[in-house]
Amino acid sequence: MSATELERRVLPIATERSLSGWGRMHPSRARVLRPGRAQELPELLGSQEVHRGGVIARGAGRSYGDAAQNEGGAVIDMMGLRAIHSIDEQRRRVRAEGGATLDELLRTLARKGMMLPVVPGTRHVTVAGAIASDIHGKNHHRDGGMARHVESLTLCTPAGELLELSPDSDGDLFYATLGGMGLTGVVTEATLRTVPLPPCVIADTDRTDGLEQTLELMAAEDGHRYSVAWLDMLAGGARMGRAIVSRSDPLAAPAVDGRPAGADDRARQGMRLRGPLLEVPRRFPGFVLRPSAVLAFNELRWRAAPRVERGRELALAPYFFPLDVLGEWNRLYGPAGFLQYQFVVPIGAEQALRASFELFRRHRLPVYLAVFKRMGASFGGPLSFPLEGWTLAVDIPAGAPGLASALDELDGLIAGCGGRVYLSKDIRLRPDLLGVMYPELERFRELRTRVDPEGVLRSDLALRLGLCEGSRAPARALREGPARSEEAGSSGRRVLVLGGTSEIALAIVRELQRGAPREVALVGRDMDALEQARLGLEAAGCPRVLTLQLDALETEQHAGVLDDALEQLGGADITILAVGQLGERGGMPSEIADAVDVLRVNLAGSGSLLMHAAKGMRERGGGALVVLSPSQPSDPAGETPSTAPRRRDSMRSPSHSETTCMRTGCGCWSCGPGSCERG
């Protein structure tokens, strides 16, 4: 039996899959291998299969960004390695495999009256993932992050070696692995410290009026073990930084008959989470979380919170894992996904904190969740996120207008005051700022050279940030709508008019021309009228006006003519759709054949143009699309009673253009009840 045959027999079979982080942005394809036993790992990591294109371990896929994906390479799915080996009740230790989820671990521990000292906002992360991200909870200011509670771990290096690491045994590599984003090796097992399971927590809630008060409550020396604030990012002026602050302590249960404190039924009940109450459906549309809804939600949530509440008993699971109540909640943001941006600024940089709130407000980013916490001293390795100071995490829909520039600005602000962003949530940081945010970066690189000289461990995140060698993937631009500020709607130079003889459309072009010079392409049926329109626009000062002939009814020609127009114009920043016509006296013609002709132009013709225009603009980088075309005859004067109910329907339900457009993936609406213009 040859060596390759042997390898094929032992190693799991790779399947190619598309992977993304929890935020569902920027998926990439990789060969996924799922070992079923820990013994397979050394061989797997040493094999050619994974050395082609590099390899990274992936746990539950709960990192928000691109930390656990590896385009064109291999990804080791750790979810097959989830055994919980032993629980030492005397020394309060638990040893588990890297793929075990905290959910499984916490359930098992609860039966023995124990829990983990640090838990993140969701229990559906793996042990190895929690270590590689050095996750933190609501108690970082008191108990530190995950890193502080790892006693030892087993690391499988790219050379296929299994190393048992602890502070005393290759401490450098041990610490670098805590928060090391999986770039030092694969954590196959770990021994974690545990704490007694309290029956519940006793929570105090305060609604604060501004940042001063929020910081004061959260910085109190005699502070509670757990503290977290939900911040209203949309409040400005004196109310900036107002928050709902929740602080709590575990309820101490006296030990009974030598049994561990807290090991009563109540505690176990409290830690038990039923499955998610609700699951967000797979195709949940993203527009539900649009800015106005977010605003209303924030206000409601604010009003609903008690001003002051003391000593409320809360069950553990819903308190620690509020997000787990809703299954697959990342689908809330629709297919475009979302990103979570989390940063920390050191104590003393409160001014930067204020500036960051200002920035969120100025860019009008729709922030749904803003979680604010106090952090204690840092502990983990060179890439570990926590830093003594204040941390803020916000969820933002991927398509939010102006998002990329706003976050770039924020990065500069954070880096400038000695803060940093959380790599486990990152999908867009520029590599040049990484060294500023993580000053020990060079030390991490040196360690990596020692343990992974060939640069086998690789992820999209590592490549993007220059954490590993290899052809660096160009940073993908965030998909987003047109920015509100400088690049806003009306500033684009190239204007495409579909229905180039429309008086309203021409008036819009003249109005645009008044602001800045515009190059215009007029598309319409009547070449003589288009020529007139061209002369008119040139007289108004337009430097370049093209005319192209197109009949709205000849739908099969639309693609070609639009391509032609966009080609000649070099793309379009603004497209005005003004196609459609009135029947006689503004109503529907009484002859059915005539009425059908009107419908052909107004529905099929304008709908086809709308979709082709949207597609062409998307392919050329997007722009603003102004839709004037009536999809229904407007003036009720000529309407017969028999058509009236249908007309009402069309006003209540999405109109034809709206539906067709939603299908093409761009949310645009057709014009309603009034206008009347000929294309």
Binding site: A488, G489, R510, L582, R585, A624, L625, P636, A644, R678
Partner: protein, 70 residues
């Protein structure tokens, strides 16, 4: 994407029709559109007051709408 919802606009096409209340001109519509673009609006009405009128009209029960037409 900006949707323009103009009311009755006095143009060649509407020549000979009795102007409806709240009628407007192409230039006025153009102003509203350009402002809407700069604001990042998703819908503009011309004249702007039409937004509230149509809101009311849309809330009316169908039976009343039908009676109004006859």
């Amino acid at each position: 994407m900006l949707v323009v919802r103009p009311g009755f606009v006095r143009t060649r096409m509407t020549e000979g029709l009795d102007p409806a209340p709240l009628s407007t001109t192409p230039d006025a519509v153009a102003k509203v559109v350009v402002q809407g673009l700069d604001r990042g609006a998703s819908t503009v009405w011309a004249p702007p007051a039409l937004r509230w009128l149509m809101l009311v009209v849309r809330m009316l029960p169908r039976s009343i709408i039908r009676r109004m037409r006859q």
